[in-house]
Amino acid sequence: MSHLLILPVLIPLGTAILLLILRFLPMARRIVIAFAGVSILGVNISVLSKIYKEGIQTYQLGGWPAPYGIVLVGDLLSGIMMMLGSIIAVCALFYSFGYLKEDGQQAIFHPLFFFLWTGTNGTFLTGDIFNLFVMFEIMLMSIYSLLAMLGDKKQIESGLKLISMGLLSSAIFLAAVGGIYALTGTLNMADLAVKIKPHAGHPLVGAVAMLFLGVFGLKAAMMPMHFWLPDVHSSAPTPISAMLSGILIKVGVYAIIRVFCLIFVDLQGAFQPFILTLACITMFMGAMGAVAQTDLKRLLAYSSVSQIGYILMGVGFFSVAGMGAALFYMISHGIIKASLFMAAGILKKMKGTTEMSEHGNMINISPVFTLFFLIGVAGLGGIPPSSGFFMKFQLIKAGLDGAFYLPVFVALVVSLFTLFYLAQSWQKVCLMPQKEEPTIRPSFKLLLPVGVLALLCLVLGFAADPIITLTTAASQQLFSPELYIKAVMGSM
């Protein structure tokens, strides 16, 4: 029995506790953080390669076999999502050293950040629907505190919004879990997938599926439930904004994929029109919201809403190609959006605001910044050398193959708007003359993680082929749920 699968949860948890203990030793904390960040990244790489080579991995917590105990299950989807999460998290960690004040702020920030990381990795790994709830809670608890940490008025207000959203969704989630437990008497996802088969057509199954879609849609900011996102993502401290838009909204999408590709397989057809419609509305309204913004961070937050629509559209096709495209989209969007948010944070550091009218002339102040920002813009806009082209191309192709002409049309129109608002913001920030010169220059510490992410975006574009192979393999695995069930239940 290999213990590899527990490590992505164990290392961040241990690090967070160690950081709490080392509260008054800043130098020791730095060493611990550097060591932990690198080792989690390494562990996630080896987990992913192990899953790719040997198939789905399982781990029984406490030695209790499924379906009685709690299992961790790593399939390609969880491996890919964890990998994406750790790339963004490592960059955000590095960025936080330059962004936050040395002593007090970092002592609170870093332990919470590692609890957040524990929560995301746990969400991706858990094979138990109730534990999914627990991991969501760990994640949300850390975000509440991280959000209100700097304590200005706007952050407290958006923290309140996030808390009300979180409590509401937790309550609905619990009700849904209760409903499904009443029907099948199990909470293990693989066991659920087997035991729910005889109940096909039972009205409770449809109701529970709808509740799950609602809850995870709320977390992913699907359109009628997107109201909390722009405030929260724009007022959070920048490293957290990058994490929120880069990986945490995708946690909701991950849960939708997991639930509909494993448990409610029979309901895919019934839910398809619904998901596709919501995806189209989300895409369109998010982009409309973004066009109207004058604040760069709010613009990026609205753009996240719009991009979640694209990802949900890929999920909603319920085909191998569509799901693969959605996975590639998640990877690519996560990296690009994190780099854009971090770029906005540099502007915030320079003048204390992200209002675009206050900034300008960045091309003379910092050409490197301008280049990185441009790569991000090209990425989200879908211009060829960046990975953005492949993410949109694959999605559109999957849509045309499945004959979903209307969603494809909406996606194409919205991508024009995307390019428009991003190019406009780039032009405002980088080319337009500025009222008064900033006194602070962008520091190297802040530029490096942005550059790394921008470079990754280009690398993903030039070497898209291996990643597409990987995402396609993951999506094939998702559409044969019997592999997952056998991996979990076979280890009895």
Partner: protein, 140 residues
Amino acid sequence: MNSLIFRSIIKIVSPILMLFSVYLLLRGHQLPGGGFIAGLMTSAGLVLIYLAYGCERFDWRHRSRFFYFLFTSGLTISFLTGLAGLFWGGFFLKSGFAHVHMPLINEDWEFASAAVFDFGVYLVVCGVCVSLMTMLGEEE
């Protein structure tokens, strides 16, 4: 909140709450109870004392470090119990138990490592709840 009636009642209620929480903590392995609920009950007792007597006898506000120490050590204990399961039991969070013969009462008692984990949870809940409540009670 510092009326005579309230204070007199708290003098009786608080010790009962604490004793009962210890009872809940100890029975938690087999029966309803456990670290979380026991921690909540203990902190309820402590917060009641805080409400009744304020900072007259014990300066809650300047003891935040003590509560920080409580929940940090609680987390550490729980985490290390889990790790011990990994190293000696073969799985993370694997629980072990032993029967110990108690000399005076001449009975076999079962000690499970899960009880240590529970104790960690108890400390975390206590520390977090009390520090939250006293923070809310601060003037500013």
